[in-house]
């Protein structure tokens, strides 16, 4: 046990190193790549001058538009781009340490507020999606393992492989076409988090409305890990069913159900926890493809839009959360793994 604790401490100590490397790489990329906020501001000024027409428009056509040096310095200072890349990065990192993420260029609000305002929606869909996939995949995997190589197994395999081959957001799109009104059935709404008149609805109507809006995105989330989780569950249960301790349990004269659910199941669930780290990341960051198709204003869509609008503080801010959650999640899932499976020994 002692060796394990030092192992995990060593891994925790590596987090800042990895974190700094990733964020510096992205910071570097953002600074080097053209089309940043300064250029966009330049473009806007140019457009405005062209729009005015007349003499000023003519002037800008003749020569490349020059922003006065003083204004340029002001602009750079406003966007915190006046420092060299290493110094700028150090300042940004120091800000992160004091939980100061800077201000969003687009929302003109502190980045942390923007991110926190988007968090609940992503967690809502992420959590429901994660539990839904456990609720679907575990029973499916177990029954598939019990009836290995039967007609049921083959039939469900087809569904599993189909699930693997359709990306989640495409499945959402298909469901929206089929169930979202228009040409076919009209059961579910076309995206969004809640209806517009949500506040006026009664209590039960509120619940129903929320559920109706939840169905399609959650299905998209479930599709993401559906095939891998089901097959992992099935294979690990099959592995355990062939193990000696199961044979012993049968030899003791235990009923099949007891052997299956008390002995084999417990051990088969262990590999399923490996995905927790990744799932945590998805939980918080959301899948921006699903959020975009279903029009959910969550973390995923926020970071996607920030990339498009070149909102550097928000890009970096969401990156901080994403990277930290993923790095911690990996360690967390290893800890969980080591706790529930005494055979696992890290650091040897």
């Amino acid at each position: 046990m002692h060796g394990m604790i030092t192992y995990f401490i060593r891994r925790l100590l590596l987090i800042p190193v990895t974190f700094i490397a990733i964020t510096f790489l992205v910071y570097f990329m953002l600074r080097v790549v053209p089309g940043g906020p300064i250029e966009q501001a330049q473009l806007q000024i140019k457009m405005a001058m062209m729009g005015e027409g007349g003499s000023s428009g003519m002037a800008s056509e003749q020569g490349e538009l020059q922003i006065p040096a003083a204004a340029m310095a002001e602009l750079k200072k406003y966007y915190h781009l006046d420092k060299s890349i290493p110094e700028g990065y150090a300042r940004w990192l120091w800000g992160i340490c004091r939980l100061d993420f800077g201000r969003s260029y687009v929302y003109s609000e502190p980045v942390l507020d923007v991110i926190i305002s988007k968090f609940p929606v992503s967690i809502y869909f992420g959590l429901i999606g994660y539990f839904a996939s456990w609720l679907i995949c575990v029973p499916l995997g177990v029954t598939k393992a019990i009836r290995h190589k039967s007609g049921y197994d083959t039939a469900t395999s087809i569904i599993v492989f189909l699930g693997y081959s359709i990306p989640g957001f495409v499945a959402c799109l298909m469901l929206m076409v089929l169930l979202g009104g228009g040409s076919y059935l009209d059961i579910l709404p076309l995206g969004g988090f809640r209806s517009e008149n949500w506040a006026q609805l009664g209590f039960f109507a509120k619940i129903a409305d929320q559920l109706r809006h939840t169905a399609i995105p959650v299905l998209g989330y479930v599709m993401g890990g559906f095939a891998t989780m089901t097959i992992l569950m099935k294979n690990s249960l099959l592995d355990n069913l062939g193990a000696d301790y199961v044979r012993t349990a049968f030899a003791k004269g235990l009923s099949e159900n007891r052997v299956l659910f008390v002995h084999a199941m417990r051990n088969s669930l262990i590999p399923m926890t490996v995905g927790i780290g990744h799932a945590l990341g998805l939980l918080f960051a959301g899948s921006f493809l699903i959020e975009k198709t279903c029009n959910i204003q969550g973390m995923g869509l926020l970071s996607f839009n920030s990339v498009i609008q070149r909102d550097y503080p928000v890009i970096l801010g969401t990156l901080v959360f994403l990277v930290l959650i993923r790095l911690m999640g990996n360690i967390f899932s290893d800890v969980v793994w080591a706790l529930i499976d005494p055979r696992i020994r890290f650091g040897k």
Binding site: L14, V17, T18, A21, I22, L25, V26, M29, L30, V33, P34, G35, H148, F161, L162, Y164, S165, I166, P167, F169, V170, L173, M174, M176, V177, L178, G180, G181, G182, S183, Y184, L190, N235, L238, D239, L241, G242, V246, R247, F250, L289, K292, T293, S303, F304, V307, I308, I315, L319, L322, V323, R326, L327
Partner: protein, 460 residues
């Protein structure tokens, strides 16, 4: 008519199958033998392939998907608005073949297109081959065209009969002169029409159109109604909002996606094998440092990086391929290879090779690699599935292949705009994507089963 098309399609599919699975393999073996290679498979590979063939669903999926892919390389001959062959008088031309070779030799300037005037049509742009083919089948088209022209000329003559008043403004005089000038043009067109009609009647015109005579790059704006059109008789799966045939886009999109995924997988494999091999073979600090590096590299949100780069430079096919390979393509496979090399390097044959003085590179690539191919082969189909998924999502977001490249993601993006009224724009690419990836997954599953069999024994 429909029966004829079906027969043509069946013939094409059979030919494609025979070419892919009879001609190509024997050609491969024969050239290999002629070059002095030993083309006989090692017995354990033969056994694996035999086992693969017994898994019917995977084997048939493999046959179908490879046939379709090889056929898709010749799509210009099957789905195109240009004919395979056209003859008009003494002029003979092979426009579809020319388009195909132009794409193959993309560095050369494309050949000039056939002008309407040279092929008995009116106008000064490219020949309307579908009209040509229609006229070939139904010569009365000329009569209706001629009638329309005659009506037009009659109308102009009626207007010309009224001489401008002596006090007409300069504009009115100019209009009158313009009308006068049009008359000889229309007369010339009428003459050309009559000439074309006689040429067609004399059997001096011939054309062979592809089975599906629409191209994924033309905008059919003269169709009745406004695009997008729903699926119909002429357009199997309708058109999109720029009037481009959806079926043509789907099949060309299949080619784009598959070749993209293949190239990305192969390049990713090359990098992944080298990196993973170095990590597994040398171990120690090399391994630890490279692992850290990969961990950092894999944590960069690669889709975002792609989007940032794509908004800076317009991505071309090659640029997108190299970006996806560099950012993502090689990471997965390097883990597998690392594990294999770790296991294999302690084997006796490796020690033997080292003792005989083989260089490290040659031990890695000539001795260990051939013994670690199983995970490479079994991983390949899933790598293809993943890459196609990435390409579709990139195209869907609008940061994928250059505008105008037929692709499934672009269709999906369009479909989102017309979600309620034109479901075919979502359903057709989704189903094409699902069916294609499903078959690839089936192949992958069967390959895994055949190459790396797992026997579950259990007490009942």
């Amino acid at each position: 008519m429909i029966v004829l098309k079906l027969v043509e399609t069946a013939v094409l599919l059979t030919a494609g199958h025979l070419f892919t699975h009879r001609a190509l393999p024997s050609l491969y073996v024969k050239t290999g033998a002629a070059l002095g290679f030993d083309m006989k498979l090692a017995p354990h590979w033969e056994k694996r392939i035999k086992r693969f063939k017994t898994i019917k669903r995977g084997y048939y999926s493999f046959l179908i998907i490879t046939t379709l892919f090889v056929m898709s390389l010749f799509l210009e001959f099957m789905v195109n608005n240009k004919p395979l062959f056209i003859r008009y008088g003494s002029k003979v031309s092979f426009p579809a073949v020319a388009e195909w070779t132009d794409q193959l030799l993309f560095f050369k300037a494309p050949r000039p297109m056939n002008m309407k005037a040279d092929f008995g049509q009116i106008g000064d742009d490219e020949v309307d081959y579908r009209l040509f083919a229609a006229a070939r089948k139904d010569p009365s088209l000329f009569d209706s065209q001629a009638k329309a022209l005659e009506a037009e000329i009659g109308e102009i003559r009626r207007q010309l009969a009224v001489k401008p008043a002596p006090r007409a403004t300069p504009e009115e005089l100019q209009d009158y002169r313009d009308l006068q000038e049009i008359v000889p043009d229309i007369e010339a067109e009428l003459k050309a029409l009559a000439e074309a009609k006689s040429m067609f009647a004399a059997g001096k015109a011939a054309i062979l159109m592809p089975v599906y005579p629409y191209s994924p790059r033309e905008h059919l704006l003269d169709m009745p109604g406004r695009p997008p059109h729903r699926p119909g008789n002429d357009h199997l799966l309708g058109t999109d909002d720029s009037g481009t045939d959806v079926f043509a886009q789907l099949v060309y999109g299949f080619r784009t996606s598959m070749s993209f995924a293949l190239i990305v997988s192969i390049l990713g494999y090359l990098i992944g094998i080298v990196v993973g091999g170095v990590m597994g073979y040398f171990g120690g600090w090399t391994d630890i440092l490279l692992q850290r590096f990969i961990e950092i590299w894999a944590s960069i949100p690669f889709l975002f990086m792609l989007i940032i780069i794509a908004s800076m430079v317009q991505p071309t096919f090659l640029l997108l391929v190299s970006l996806i390979v560099l950012l993502q393509g090689w990471v997965g496979i390097s883990y597998y290879i690392r594990g294999e090399f770790y296991r294999e390097k302690s084997r006796d044959y490796v020690h033997a090779a080292v003792a005989m003085g083989a260089s490290e590179w040659s031990v890695m690539m000539k001795h260990i690699l051939p013994n670690s191919l199983v995970p490479l082969v079994t991983f390949a189909p899933f790598s293809i599935v993943g890459t196609i998924g990435s390409l579709v999502s990139l195209d869907f977001l609008g940061f994928g292949l250059p505008v105008g490249t037929p692709s499934w993601g672009v269709l999906l993006d369009q479909g989102m705009k017309y979600l309620k009224y034109y479901p075919h724009l979502i359903l057709t690419p989704s189903i094409a994507l699902a069916v294609t990836l499903f078959m690839v997954v089936m192949v992958g599953e069967a390959v895994r089963e055949a190459f790396d069999p797992k026997v579950f024994s259990r007490l009942r």
